[in-house]
């Protein structure tokens, strides 16, 4: 069959997984995420134990400041961006019925990137430097929203917006975004190029409460919307006609999933740059652990996405102390071989 769906070679043909096993996996992933979060908050150039704070033993103010003002917002940002990318990735894979789909696919990451880079390169000429930390994310969100609104308008224009059309539109939008990014890279000076490259590879280093909290809020709402639609995404796997015949408003579902994934990805890209492969790798791992039902896959992806991204960021900021690596470099180093393995092991049916 020429459908873009493949099965992993050698994968079992029976599903021994029961719902109780899925619950078990979810609880385990949740606990893992919580542990990783606490560990990442205490590890770093200056070790801080969060427990000390809770037990009012934090007499040393520098540690307190490091934890509350630097470490915590950064780890929180990594956790939320990771959760957002993973849940958006799983949702888009379900929406496109394509296991190799990725949030970047519909062009939203590209749109956000163009928005942010435009601000990095041109912002200084008309804006006060002090405003730049706010203007860059704002511009990235604007770019992501622009792409999303275009997709939305496009889908309304063509009453019957097939998944294939959508993928093709995404490819076109990404090509356009690459043109924009390339042009801005060419126009930028040396210092701008340095920020730009670092941002393009992703980093949670700029996480301060003022930039983190709005993103966390947007991501929370978007992820909640996606989780509420998880069952309907299961039904969509039967095909759009069959989903409709089972009472699902398919067009409404598609719009909600597109917009919510775009908002989640856009809000993440805005503060952390482009962190790749989380949206592709995490849902696959979760499916390997306990099956394909989306209420399970989306919830599991949320926990594992957060945990993996926090770990990647921990590696990025500790492995070459006192310097740090872009986190995108770490996720790529882990994700790209996994992606190749996935391609090598999947075969068309």
């Amino acid at each position: 069959m020429s459908y873009p769906s493949e099965r992993v070679a050698g994968a079992p043909t029976t599903a021994k997984t029961t719902y109780s096993k899925q619950w078990l996996v979810l609880v385990a992933l949740g606990i893992t995420a919580a542990c990783v979060f606490l560990a990442a908050a205490s590890l770093g150039a200056i070790p801080v134990s969060p427990l000390d704070l809770f037990m009012e033993r934090a007499g040393r103010t520098m540690q307190r400041t490091v934890l509350l003002e630097i470490r915590l917002p950064r780890v929180l940002l990594a956790a939320f961006v990771g959760a957002a990318l993973a849940v958006a990735g799983a949702s888009l894979q379900a929406l496109f019925r394509n296991p190799l789909a990725d949030p970047g696919l519909i062009g939203v990451s590209g749109g956000a990137a163009v928005g942010a880079i435009a601000m990095i390169v041109f912002g200084t000429t008309f804006a006060v430097d002090a405003l730049m930390p706010y203007l860059v994310p704002l511009s990235a969100v604007a770019g992501a929203s622009g792409v999303t609104l275009f997709l939305y308008a496009f889908s309304r224009q063509f009453g019957n917006f097939s998944v294939t059309t959508m993928l093709l539109v995404g490819i076109a939008l990404n090509a356009l975004a690459q043109v924009g990014i390339g042009a801005f890279e060419y126009l930028s000076d040396d210092t701008q190029l340095r920020t730009l490259v670092f941002w393009m590879m992703g980093s949670f280093g700029r996480g301060t409460w003022t930039t983190v909290l709005p993103s966390v809020a947007v991501i929370s709402i978007a992820v909640a919307i996606l989780l509420l639609d998880a069952r309907r995404l299961d039904i969509l796997q039967l095909g759009e006609s069959d989903a409709r015949n089972l009472g699902v408003d398919v067009d409404g579902l598609k719009k909600r999933v597109i917009l919510a994934s775009a908002a989640a990805v856009g809000a993440g890209v805005a503060v952390a740059g482009i962190v790749v492969f989380i949206g592709l790798v995490v849902p696959h791992l979760v499916r390997l652990l306990g099956g394909a039902r989306n209420p399970y896959v989306l919830t599991g992806s949320m926990f594992l996405g957060a945990a993996l991204t926090v770990v990647a960021d921990l590696v990025a900021r500790t492995v070459v102390l006192p310097a740090e690596l872009p986190v995108g470099l770490v996720t790529s180093a882990l994700g790209a071989p996994f992606f190749l393995w996935l391609i090598a092991r999947t075969r068309p049916q």
């Binding site: 099965r7 994968a11 043909t13 599903a15 296991p99 796997q237 039967l238 006609s241 099956g291």
Partner: protein
């Protein structure tokens, strides 16, 4: 009280796919749509299910315009087995069957005894733990048929009629399962369900259906009981090939040769 198309036409890019068709699917009756490829059978079904909007005319469900029913309400009153037979991820057969209960999710839990009974009837009880995508075409078709049956077994408010719409449900089945499926379809009709089925096998249509609707290039050219509808001359001219209809004394039923 029927699922009915009233003078419906469907035109796509200037081509008439279905032209001025009147068709009522009645409860307790199996109605077959028969005709050559491209006669508009599936398009007519798509209008009956509300998936396609007629360019002209309208569809009613129990004397009320179909459009005014919510999708969930429609899903509780009629189920559809399409020819689509593919799922992108590794869902188990049990996962797929569970989806049939979506329209009743807030009303009652899936009754395991009914599900089990349908699985046994459709000969898929042994497949419940299998990954749907690893099944053969015929096995998938039996699972989809079971899903369509299960969807009509939810709690019913009042005495609403229910309808079962099947688009070539036997295309991948072996002879034995083909007969099983049509017997189950007949049983469904006996329990009051109105069935509309697209069939290519004229013998099956003649043997199991109460009423045959012959379609040619989007028009209904005959509509009535098999014995009246399926005549040698009519079928030969419809399919542009020599077709013989005769009464088989030993089997005591119509037999159609081509």
């Amino acid at each position: 009280m029927t699922l009915a198309a009233h003078n419906v036409s469907l035109t796509i890019n200037g081509t008439d796919i279905v032209s001025e068709v009147d068709l009522a699917i009645e409860p307790s009756t199996v109605t077959a749509l028969v005709g050559p490829n491209g006669a508009g059978k599936t398009s007519l079904l798509r209008m009956l299910t509300g998936e396609a909007q007629p360019s002209n005319g309208f569809v009613s469900l129990d004397d009320w315009p179909l459009k005014e029913f919510g999708l969930q309400e429609q899903a509780r009153r009629r189920s559809v087995m399409t020819q689509h037979n593919h799922v992108a991820f590794d869902f188990s057969v049990a996962d797929i069957l569970e989806l049939a209960w979506e329209p009743y999710r807030h009303k009652a839990p899936l009754p395991r005894d009914i599900e089990q009974h349908i699985c046994q009837q459709c000969d898929i009880a042994h497949l419940r733990a299998r990954i749907f995508n690893t099944l053969s075409g015929g096995e998938r078709q039996r699972v989809q048929f079971a899903r369509a049956l299960l969807q009509l077994r939810g709690p019913n408010d009042g005495d609403d009629n229910r309808y079962l719409i099947l688009d070539e449900p036997t295309s991948s089945l072996d002879v034995a399962h083909e007969l099983d499926l049509l017997r189950m379809t007949r049983n469904a009709a006996q329990s009051g369900i109105g069935v509309c089925i697209v069939l290519h096998d004229l013998n099956l249509a003649a043997r199991f259906c109460d009423r045959i609707v012959l379609l040619e290039q989007g028009h209904v050219i005959a509509d009535g009981p098999p014995a009246e509808c399926l005549t040698s001359e009519r079928l030969s001219s419809l399919y542009k090939t020599a077709i013989q209809v005769e009464w088989h004394a030993q089997l005591d039923r119509m037999v159609i040769h081509s």
